[in-house]
Amino acid sequence: MQQNTIVSIATPLGMGAISIIRLSGKDSLSIALKVFFAKNLDFETIVPRKMYFGNFKVAENSFEQCLMVFFKAPFSYTGEDIVEFQVHGGVLLAQKVLEQCLDAGAKMAEPGEFSKRAFINGKITLDKAEAIVGEINAESEGELMSSLQVTNGLLAKKILKAQEEIKLLLAEIEVGLDYPDETEETKLKNDIWQRMEKIKSELLQIVENSKSAKYLKNGINVALIGRTNVGKSSVMNALLGEERAIVTDIQGTTRDQIEASYVFEGIKINLTDTAGIRETKEVVESIGIERSKKSLQTADLVLFVLDGSETMSSDDKKIWQMLEERNANCLVVINKSDKPRKIEKFANEIEISALKNEKIDVLKKKINEMVIKNKIDFNKLVVTNERQFEILKNSLKLLEEILDNQFLNTTLDVLAMKLKQVWLTLGKITGNTENEDIIDLIFSKFCLGK
């Protein structure tokens, strides 16, 4: 049987030092080679079961170091071609890898799908089939609206309402298509547009809220950027204080990069110090800027550390320019406030003295505020389940595709098809995907017939 290539994060989210992202299916390798690059690695030369060290493309022109291993069918867990990526722990990076695989053509795995494939391909014995049945049921159960309803009634209502509204739109379009004689013409496209925009913004709100909630669950990634001698390390140490949890110097993989975390007001902050900007003058631009750029990829917030007692150097300016170009979420930290200030004013800045431990709490507060813009209330519009979150994001993407500049030129049959996709996608959360529902609505809502 021809199968999609599926992907999911195989390790528990947010825990452990590494995350494993697993692909299974006949296109596993071709998908992997679109996003992962290593020396002497290509379709012809790849050696199964050999660990490759290379770069994973997390965004355009941006790479993360990553390990990859290929299992050739049938010698794998599922009996299909499998590729596994190992990246550093933390949710964001694992998410990025997952997203890239999805973009490259993989499909999000269904509940229990790896095991199911393993069974179908004879990799698991028959008596284990019942266990897989349990696994599918358990995982599906967890995703049903009912479970969402129990934990979060308001959210469940919101999603149901959005889906209902889409259903109504569909019914209105369908009436116009199936009953062209009706004088009550379907509402104008403008009306449809407005109502869809509204649905879109509601879904967007849930997605944004959920992102914030993820910070609560998995922490905020903060990158410290700046040239040497501005006191980056002391800023880091001041932030960590006595609560200093883990300071890892990861040898070999991301050498010269220090990661550590602390907890402030219940939220975990993961700090990354790109400590590489201490090389000789000539390579400052290349190595320093490159490293800083890289840490930007996974950072929710950048702390640009400057020495307030000096004017901006050319290196400072280069970094600042780069940050502006990338439109990074950035806070300028003016260090050494114990000395007279010489540096210019920044719109979004904070003066501290790492040395004297002054205003460190203010900085900590500011960090939290800058990332978590919405006040997180777990009882409100937050999706915590990874699959539900993925479904919502997909629905949003589909809506955005409909509401593009071609909207007015789209014929109603195509519009209905696209809208139906959104409805079906949301239906994976609500469980409402019965076409008959739309037809029922057509008849209950509109006066039709001969």
Binding site: M1, V133, S140, L177, D413, V414, E434, C447, G449
Partner: protein, 623 residues
């Protein structure tokens, strides 16, 4: 009577309505000696309700019947009084042809075709019973005549124990005063078949001389008329016009004041009526805020003055009907020639059928048309041709034909009724077809002619025509592959059509990716196609290229669906013993006994998780 003494046939078709005619023709044309039994020879292919064929989704069905080698499209073209393409400008997927047909000519023309078919014996008679004798079926009529056949197709329409209701008046008769069939229901029940009781209705017929047309809007046919059948060579001409009028506040008042006399509302009628075809009293009650409802006056035939008042179905008492009609704009002095009535009838629960339209429990018995709980001539004809094809294949011991949801509206129709059942007369709608961008009227022949050929129903003439058409389409596509230089002419052409001028050389087919440019505009400018390539062909290619992206998207969905469609489930699969399935799913699956995982997934109450589990256990069973 000994079996030897009885008349022997390959198949018997019971009923000569739209399903029965297609079934009998499909059987006869594939070499089966066929007996066509009908309660009245005058009821053959009778348009008992609307004098029209086609319409949204139904037009697609007619084109599909035609592509398979059926008759409905040819007769509809031949007897058309007015032709309109509906939904022009709403996208090619939902464009459907609809014709006003001459009701008398339609009957006569179809009867002629049947009479001229050497393999068909037409016989008036009411079937009162059927016996199963080994692999033979014995059909008995009310006069005691017996016929033996390998297979039987039941296409009895709305005649089973039918009752006509007008006010308090109930009469045990078939539609339009034809005799009904009083015995067959019980016989079917004795064979273990579950019956349902449905209801439908028809409006009044009015004498044209009594209508004030000056108060109504006229509705004309299309100028450039198209035809249903690819076999129709001549242009179909408009010969009549329709009129549009409205109910008034008075109409609604009369109805509201007399609801106690409305059988459909007072509870007098127990049968389930179709929601898409409500009586005028139902419309007034359910949509109380509507100030008026539109009504159409349609000519019944050229040789009569009778007009059909579309939108005015009712089962009110006859005197009230008159009052109601007279309250309608332009009908103040209308003479009613036939009363509106509701009709109740027995039909079978279609979930007892396989997707081949054969009964699950008794092989060789096929069912088609309104007896399966559907409504509409086109729906009936569609089932008729499939039942006929499958009865024929059954007789020859060949594998059965099942059209998939991605093949045809016919596939959607049959899959819906046998998988989900229906609790009202089922009507085809484009919104029921999830792959409707592919299931267009214009490509029905591309989708189905080869299938019709493989079962022996598409004759040489039709096949040759089809092949020629395919060749021409290929030629058009090839011509569009020509490269065009970006010269001044091209720049002007794009500007004129409000499109940005392309910078690099491109092909003509790339032009079509632009919203404001179609194949006709290109042809006007560049004269690529001569009169050898008619507009209909150009239109097909235009649609194909313009919709390429969406069509591809639907094709991908179909491929996904087929993965499940191709996993068949053993007929004797024991669902009740599977602990992993929810109880509801177990019961539903046991009842429907789906042929494959795809059909299983469409049963309401069966979840994706159930399907996952089922897929594992089906595999397990095979090992």
């Amino acid at each position: 009577m000994e079996e030897k003494e009885m008349e022997q046939f390959d198949s018997v078709v019971v009923g000569a309505g739209h399903a029965g005619c297609e079934a009998a023709l499909a059987l006869a044309r594939t070499g089966n000696k066929t007996l066509l039994l009908t309660i009245s020879l005058d009821a053959i292919a009778f348009l008992a309700c609307n004098p029209s064929i086609g319409g949204t989704a139904k037009g697609q069905l007619v084109a599909e019947i035609d592509a398979l080698g059926g008759q409905m499209g040819i007769i509809a073209d031949k007897t058309a009084l007015q032709i309109r393409m509906l939904n022009r400008g709403k996208g090619p997927a939902v464009q459907s042809l609809r014709v006003q047909a001459d009701k008398n000519a339609y009957h006569t023309e179809m009867k002629k075709v049947l009479e001229n078919e050497p393999n068909i014996v037409i016989r008036q008679g009411e079937v009162t019973s059927i016996e199963i004798a080994g692999d033979k079926k014995i059909v008995t009529t009310q006069l005691g005549l017996k016929y033996v056949a390998k297979s039987v197709v039941f296409a009895t329409g709305v005649y089973l124990k039918s009752e006509i209701i007008i006010g308090k008046n109930r009469e045990k008769t078939g539609p339009n005063g034809f005799k009904n069939a009083n015995f067959l229901s019980n016989c079917l029940q004795n064979l273990g078949i579950r019956l349902l009781r449905f209801k439908t209705g028809t409006p009044v017929r009015i004498h044209a001389r009594s209508v004030d047309f000056s108060k109504m809007e006229t509705q004309l046919g299309d100028e450039n008329t198209l035809s249903f059948s690819t076999m129709t060579e001549e242009k179909v001409e408009n010969k009549a016009i329709c009129h549009l009028t409205y109910t008034t506040p008075l109409t609604h008042e009369i109805i509201r004041n007399n609801l106690d006399k409305a059988p459909a509302i007072s509870g007098e009628i127990k049968g389930v009526g179709p929601r898409y075809c409500p009586s005028i009293e139902t419309k007034v009650v359910r949509f109380a805020d509507r100030e008026r409802h539109q009504l159409f006056l349609e000519p019944e035939a050229l040789d009569t003055q009778e007009l059909y008042l579309q939108g005015f179905s009712t089962s009110m008492p006859a005197d009230l009907q008159k009052e109601m009609v007279h309250s309608v704009v332009g009908l103040e002095n209308a003479e009613i020639m036939r009363d509106a009535y509701a009709i109740e009838y027995d039909c079978i629960d279609p979930t007892q059928l396989k997707p081949t339209l054969e009964l699950k429990t008794i092989s060789g018995l096929f069912f088609a048309g309104q007896i399966n709980g559907t409504s509409g001539y086109e729906e009936a004809g569609a089932q008729g041709i499939i039942a006929g094809i499958n009865a024929s294949l059954f007789n020859k011991n060949r594998p059965q034909l099942v059209l998939k949801r991605s093949d045809a509206y016919i596939g959607v129709l049959i899959d819906d009724i046998v998988t989900k059942g229906t609790n009202e007369p089922y009507r085809m709608m484009t919104s029921r077809a999830e792959y409707r961008l592919l299931l267009r009227q214009d490509n029905a022949d591309v989708r189905l002619t080869e299938i019709g050929r493989s079962v022996g129903l598409v004759d040489d003439e039709r096949y040759k025509k089809f092949k020629e058409k395919c060749k021409k389409i290929e030629e058009i596509e090839e011509i569009l592959q020509k490269k065009v230089n970006t010269d001044e002419k091209l720049a002007k052409f794009f500007e004129k059509n409000g499109e940005s001028v392309p910078k690099e050389n491109l092909k003509f087919c790339d032009f079509l990716k632009r919203t404001n440019i179609d194949i006709f505009k290109i042809n006007e400018e560049y004269h690529l196609f001569d009169s050898n390539y008619d507009n209909r062909l150009l239109e097909i290619v235009n649609t194909k290229i313009k919709y390429e992206g969406y069509i591809k998207q639907q094709q991908e969905e179909i491929d996904k669906m087929l993965a499940n469609e191709n996993v068949s489930i053993p007929e004797d699969f024991d669902y009740m013993s599977i602990k992993g399935l929810r109880v509801e799913a177990r019961e539903k699956l046991s009842k429907i006994r789906p042929l494959n995982l795809g059909q299983a997934s469409r049963i309401s109450g069966v979840s994706p998780a159930d399907i996952s589990i089922l897929s594992i256990l089906v595999k397990k069973g095979k090992k």
